[in-house]
Each structure stands twice: as structure tokens, then as C-alpha cells.
């Protein structure tokens, strides 16, 4: 009994300390292991995101290649053929007694040639490849103005640097979509397009005085058709490492600003 009473505090202390160490180890293990698991999860998500981004880029590149091919075919094959037909009609018109009778088909052919050129240009703007992004946007504004009759003001600020052709094309598509949206949905009477440089970033802003839109509501919309343009814009922006800002402070109209780093990150 005496032996028991002298040894007991030691046994008790050892067992209790053992239990406490076990409990403390469990707490520490959970704290550290959870951190490690989160890091792993983050890495996995990053890889998935990279993969998705690459897939998206590949899909957009193939889309652009297909557009380029179609534009080329339309311009060089169908366009050339139509031009040849026009020359033929003009020649025939000189040889027949009533050349006026061919005036109407000739006019229709001219319209068709114009349409083919327009489609070809929309599919792949040659100005972009020849003269760069700013000139292509300027031309786009002029074309949209000509077709919609809505005044589109184009302004350029600072010295613009040129960048990778594929990125320029992607950015051009974003501007094209923004202008399209402004014309189709804003009900505005004036559109401003600004392209400028700020440090190592290119700024592109499209602004209108129409009814405005709620980007968050469009994101949350369950209607699969709604917000698709916005979704495409944001996908392209992500591939460009660009930031999109929707001006939420204005009471009327809308302003979307795209901030694109010149250097691809």
C-alpha cells in the first residue's frame, strides 16, 4: 500500500502528461496538416485553372485561324470571282444594244462584292495586321458609325506600344464585342472609345450614354443567352491578363475599362 502511495503521483503524472501530449499533438497535427492540405488544394486548383486557360486559348486560336481562313477564301476566291464576273458584265454591256438592262444586275453584283468584303473584313480585319491595334479600332469605330448612324468618338492618349499579334487580335475582339453591346443594348446616342497608354499598361475604355447595365446581375443570370458576350469578353481578358472595370458609380450609361499589361505575364 505504501509503495502504491509513493509511486502513484509519478504514474499519475506520466499518464496525464501522456494524455495531454497526445491531445496537444492532435491539435497541432490538425493545424499544420490542414495548412498543408490547403496548399495542395490550391496547387491543384491552379493547375486546373492553367489547363482550362490553355484549352480556352487553344480553342480561341483555332477559332481565329478558321476566321482567317474563311476571310481569305471570301476575299481571294469568291471576291475575285465576283470581280471577274463584274468585268464580264461590263464587257457584255458594251457589246449589247441595250446596256441599261444590265445596270440592275451590275448594281446587285456591286452590293454583293461590298457585302463579301465587309464579311471578310469583319472576320479578319486586315488593318489590324497591317497597321496595328489603334488603327484597327479607329476603323472599326468608323465602320460601326457608318452602319448604325450612332456617333462614335475615338480618342487616343499617350504613345501606344505594339504587342504580340495574337494578343492584339484578342483585344480587338473584346473592343468589337463591347462596341456591339453598346450599339445593340445601350440605347445610347453617343459612344466614346478611348485607347491610351499608362506606364506599362494599355487602357481601352468604351463608354456610352445609354441605359447602362448591371454586370453582376448578368453574371448571376440563369438565362444561358444573357451575359454570353460578357462571358466571352471576360474569358479573353483573362487570357490577356487584363483587368476589366465596370463603372458602377455613374447614374446613366455605362463605362467599361480594360487594363492590359503590355508584357505577357
Amino acid at each position: 500500500m505504501e509503495q502504491d502511495s509513493t509511486n502513484f503521483p509519478l504514474i499519475f503524472s506520466l499518464l496525464t502528461v501522456g494524455m495531454l501530449i497526445m491531445a496537444g499533438s492532435i491539435v497541432l497535427f490538425v493545424a499544420f496538416y490542414q495548412k498543408k492540405m490547403l496548399q495542395e488544394q490550391f496547387k491543384r486548383k491552379q493547375l486546373e485553372l492553367d489547363y482550362q486557360q490553355r484549352m480556352m486559348q487553344a480553342s480561341m486560336e483555332s477559332e481565329e485561324n478558321e476566321r482567317r481562313r474563311l476571310a481569305g477564301e471570301l476575299h481571294d476566291s469568291i471576291g475575285a470571282m465576283l470581280s471577274t464576273i463584274r468585268v464580264g458584265i461590263t464587257t457584255v454591256a458594251r457589246q449589247i444594244p441595250d446596256p441599261q438592262s444590265l445596270e440592275q444586275p451590275k448594281q446587285m453584283l456591286d452590293d454583293t462584292i461590298q457585302s463579301v468584303r465587309k464579311i471578310s473584313r469583319d472576320l479578319m480585319p486586315s488593318t489590324l495586321e497591317k497597321f496595328g491595334f489603334a488603327q484597327a479600332v479607329k476603323e472599326l469605330c468608323e465602320r460601326f458609325h457608318a452602319t448604325s448612324q450612332v456617333p462614335i468618338q475615338y480618342t487616343e492618349k499617350g504613345e501606344l506600344k505594339s504587342f504580340d499579334k495574337n494578343r492584339e487580335l484578342m483585344l480587338f475582339r473584346v473592343v468589337q464585342e463591347l462596341l456591339n453591346n453598346a450599339l445593340k443594348h445601350s440605347q445610347g446616342t453617343l459612344i466614346n472609345v478611348m485607347v491610351g497608354s499608362e506606364g506599362e499598361q494599355l487602357l481601352v475604355a468604351v463608354e456610352d450614354n445609354g441605359i447602362g447595365f448591371d454586370a453582376e446581375a448578368l453574371h448571376l443570370s440563369t438565362d444561358s443567352g444573357r451575359g454570353l458576350g460578357l462571358f466571352n469578353i471576360e474569358n479573353r481578358a483573362r487570357l490577356l491578363n487584363a483587368k476589366i472595370e465596370y463603372d458602377k458609380t455613374r447614374s446613366s450609361g455605362s463605362k467599361t475599362t480594360l487594363i492590359v499589361p503590355y508584357e505577357k505575364v
Binding site: F12, L15, M19, V27
Partner: protein, 225 residues
Amino acid sequence: MTLEFLMLLGKIQMALSVVIAVLCLYRFKSREKYIRLIGYPFIVGFLCNAAGLLLGKYQLRAFYNVPNFVYVISAFCLFSAAYYHLLNRKYKSLFIALTIGFLAVALLNFFLYQKNSMNSYTYVGEAIVIIIYAILYFYKLLVELPEQHIHRLPMFWINSALLIFFSGTFILYTFTSYLTNVLKDDLIAYWSFHNMLSLFQHLLIIVGLCYDISRLRTNPVAGSR
């Protein structure tokens, strides 16, 4: 270790129980259910401690066990309910089996085995079950990874507090009967250690509740499991 020191620890423990109860009752309706459930045992604990002191003062030896019995039963049921909610109402049959088993042991012990001494076997049962709950909750945390900074999760602190307290006191509860009946020890030293662990437990729970309140202030609708 003296009786005065033990009493002092007991009084500090009672004060901290009140602090915990107040922290749990603060903005009661917007608190998560498990926080509300965890608050109650500390209110009951405070009341039972106060009742124990009164019984001691008036030398009502026949009822010495009653406050502790009430406390251990209610604390067990409330902690079980809190863990049941925390574990997404999974393991329902395990919870029911453990609760029924525990209640049976506690009642048998109170009325048959340890009628006139401290119900230490009931405490052993409670400690084992709470340790199981705490480990299950940590397992859930590892599987679900709900938060990047785990220390900001109120339940991480509360669960750690319960795990450490019940692990530390498990051996004491197991040997209480042996100590009092065989070694005839007055338990003051052991019970002082118990109360110190309890203070540590209370402090950890207060840290968790402070995190919960700060979370409540910054994001009133966020869950914090």
C-alpha cells in the same frame, strides 16, 4: 496546494463560466446553433458550482452529488447536441447510442455504485465520449478544409479546449475512486490540477468565442463551423 488555493481556482472558474455564458448569449439570435448550445453547459456549470458551495456551507451531505450529477448529464447532452450539429447531423445512430449508453451508466452509477461518493465513473464516460466527438470534429475539419486560417475558426479553439481538458482529466477521473478509497488521499493537489486545466479550457473557449464575435461583426451572415 491548499484548500484555499483550490477554492480560489474554483471561484475563478465560476467567473470564467459566466464570461463564456455572456459571450455565447451576446446577439443570441444571430449566433450559430452550436455556439448557443455550448453556452448552456457553462451557465449550468456556474449554477451547479454555486449550488455545491451552498450545500457545503449548510453541510447538506446527502445532496452533495446532486449538482455534479445534474451538471454532468446536462453538459453531456448539450455538448452532444452541439457536436451533432457541427458534424452536419451525420452519425445519428452513433450519437443516439452514445447518449443512451452514457445516460444509462450515469443513472446506474448515481443510484447504485457511487451513491455516496463523487460520480467519477460518469465523468470517465463523459471524457471518453467528448474525446471521440472532438477527434471526429477534427477529422471533419481535415476532410472539408473550410477555412484557410484554421485558428480563425471559433470551433477550432473550443474543440481543442474540450479535447485537452478531457484528455488531461481522464486519468484523474479514472483514479479518483482508487485515490479516495484505497490511498485515502484528500485529492486537493489532484483537484487543483483539474481546476487549472479547467481554467485553461475556459480561456481557450473564450478565445474561440471572441473570434466568433469578431466574425459576427465583420460578416453577420457568415457561418463559422
